[in-house]
Amino acid sequence: MSILIDRNSRVLVQGLTGKEATFHAQKMQEYGTRLVAGVTPGKGGLKHLGLPVFNTVEQAVRAEHPDVSIIFVPPLAGAEAIMEAAAAGIKLIVCITEGIPVLDMLRAKSWLIRYGASLVGPNTPGLISPGESKVGIMPGHIHRPGPVGIISRSGTLTYEAVQQLTAAGLGQSTAIGIGGDPVIGLKFVDLLKMFRDDEQTEVVVMIGEIGGQAEEEAADYLKVSTYPKPVLAYVAGLTAPPGRRLGHAGAIIEGRQGAAAEKIRRLKEAGVKIIDNPARIGLMTAEALALKN
């Protein structure tokens, strides 16, 4: 089994009729994802890509019973789209939108808590359970089903990691991009717990980057839990200049806090195998798995 999504997941697309959403919804359909509806206010009643379009998430939920929603809306509408999905009872929300203001995200997070919903992202490529379902914008063809769980804060670097794994003969159970923004939904620790309980997953690869404390939290968790599976990590940004923002991502080093070296030190201390060369993610994971078996 994978985590979070599988072939039975019923997926709603918020902002379906937009250009980006249309393109990626089509790719998801081609991959085999079970899209069931779209939402675009003012376009209710239309059919788009063979899917019924609704004016509100609430209507879509009533008619088509989606359990996952993927959001493609403009940045200033992003937080409200998350709130709308949560309020309509959707339990897994994947927000692709990049550039949502950080205070908006604080507001959205309190809605997620109130309604008991989980968020992936924002500013994420989404997630994929290869061979089962893809709820995101990643190139599907580089993935294979298999034993590696991937949790990443990055987009294209995740594709790079997946490609290396697939080339090394290792498929993936679920690959999930948690997003690079300062305030996000699910984090490393939440997903490490899910991968721990997932039978298909035999090894977990974390791809972190500078900024924030999510890697440190993961290290603290791994240190005290007796984690039953090998965990590897690559942390991007060792050469990043301090005090500068790299990318739209939340990758910024503020003082010593959040620096790559510190994250690496803490993860190493927690027994995580550190990948020091980002071109060796595939090979080192294969080694770790061989050692375990």
């Binding site: 507001r107 190139p139 990443s152 987009g155 490609q163 050469t239 200049p241 990318g247």
Partner: protein, 388 residues
């Protein structure tokens, strides 16, 4: 978006905070005149968009108007290099000339978003004027933090808690509480990411005064605050960085010899790291982003090669949203335009990779193709050495 001290202080003034009497000087003569009007001693403060000015000699005290003129003439027109500016420094075109005050007490006050606690946080320190991050490690007892939810705002009792922690005198506590709550409202209303008053001082005549201030707005929300965009200062960016931003590119100049053009911030950082891993030095961080146009790629490649320190370039693209053929066309256009004279290693992967490679091969330009990420980095490092 960071704004200048003088801009931040004018917001503070509107919110009822006291600030030292001051004026803005663009010439040494104006500085002299202001010093005379304010009555010396005065402090001259370089208005640049970076911290660390004091240690870098960007804040100077003058005892007479003549001295103010002399010091101003030395500061204006230079580039001030501080711990936060990078080696190029930032141009000093304006000085804030401020009445020097005798400060009885100096504190720190800050408001920001705590990304780990996912809340807002108000921070005070009994010791101001220092690097708060270092202080919070070494002297945690001097610092008090109150976390609060955005929808709740900062309550009166919480502001009082901070005021009593600072041991403010009774007559200042009311001022502090009222002004702090106004600041929190301003912070939320205008989508700030950081607001600092450092030092927040008590003057000789027992008044609460904001002696220095720093405000950073969230770039993502500027679209809904059009009035704030007018505060942006073009001259405070590296020229290449500024041009890159106009094309929606994220370019940061560094000091190495290998220029990088990459899609995605994570992969761009990993590319810098792997160059370093093989003994090279990246010349820049450059993320062309997902929605990039052919023209922007072209400009990105030119910007990268405008850096005369660049001895070899590495193009590392993992096409997802970005198509390899679009990148290839942009690169070829730029390479022809600037008559490429340095080796370029190309590693393409993902969407439309075959078309992209074909375009580069048929251009007849001297690109070196790499099979994978590691080979690309090794080649770029090797080629950067050959030219020395």
């Amino acid at each position: 978006m960071l704004i200048h001290e003088f801009q931040a202080k004018s917001f503070l003034k509107e919110l009822g905070w006291e600030i030292p009497a001051s004026g803005l000087a663009e010439t040494a003569r104006e500085a002299r005149q202001l010093a005379g009007e304010l009555s010396c001693p005065v402090v001259l403060k370089a208005q640049i968009l970076a911290g660390g000015r004091g240690k870098a000699g960007g804040i100077l005290k003058a005892s007479t108007p003549e001295e103010a003129e002399l010091l101003a003439s030395k500061l204006l027109g230079t580039r001030l290099v501080t711990a936060q500016t990078g080696s190029q420094g930032l141009p000093v075109t304006r000085l804030l000339v401020e009445k020097a005050l005798y400060l009885r007490k100096e504190y720190y006050f800050g408001l920001t978003v705590d990304r780990n606690k996912e809340s807002l946080v108000a921070i005070v320190s009994r010791q101001g004027g220092l690097n708060i991050e270092e202080l919070s490690e070494s002297e945690a007892g001097l610092i008090n933090k109150i976390f609060f939810q955005l929808d709740d705002g900062l309550k009166n009792f919480q502001a009082r808690q901070l005021a009593y922690f600072l041991e403010l005198s009774d007559n200042l506590i009311k001022d502090f509480v009222a002004r702090t709550r106004l600041l929190v409202g301003f912070f939320i209303e205008n989508d700030l990411k950081l607001l600092e008053i450092n030092p927040l001082a008590v003057t000789e005549d027992n008044r609460l005064t904001a002696v220095d201030a720093r405000m950073e707005f969230d770039d993502c929300s500027l679209a809904r605050h059009p009035e704030l965009s007018a505060l942006r200062e073009g001259g405070q960016e590296n020229e290449l960085e500024k041009e890159a931003r106009q094309y929606g590119l994220n370019y940061i100049k560094m000091n190495g010899h290998i220029g990088c053009l990459v899609n995605g911030a994570g992969l761009a950082m990993a590319t810098m790291d792997i160059i370093n891993h093989f003994g090279g030095q990246p010349a820049n961080f450059l993320d062309i982003g997902g929605g990039v146009t052919e023209e922007a790629v072209s400009r990105a490649f030119e910007i990268l090669l405008l850096d005369s320190q660049v001895r070899s370039a590495l193009i590392n693209i993992f096409g997802g949203i970005v198509r390899c053929d679009l990148v290839a066309r942009g690169v070829v256009t730029a390479a022809r335009h600037i008559s490429l004279n340095r080796p370029v290693v190309v590693r393409l992967e993902g969407t439309n990779v075959a078309e992209g490679r074909k375009i580069l091969e048929e251009s007849g330009l001297p690109f070196t193709f790499a099979q994978d990420f590691e080979q690309a980095a090794r080649l770029a490092v090797e080629l950067s050495r050959k030219l020395t």
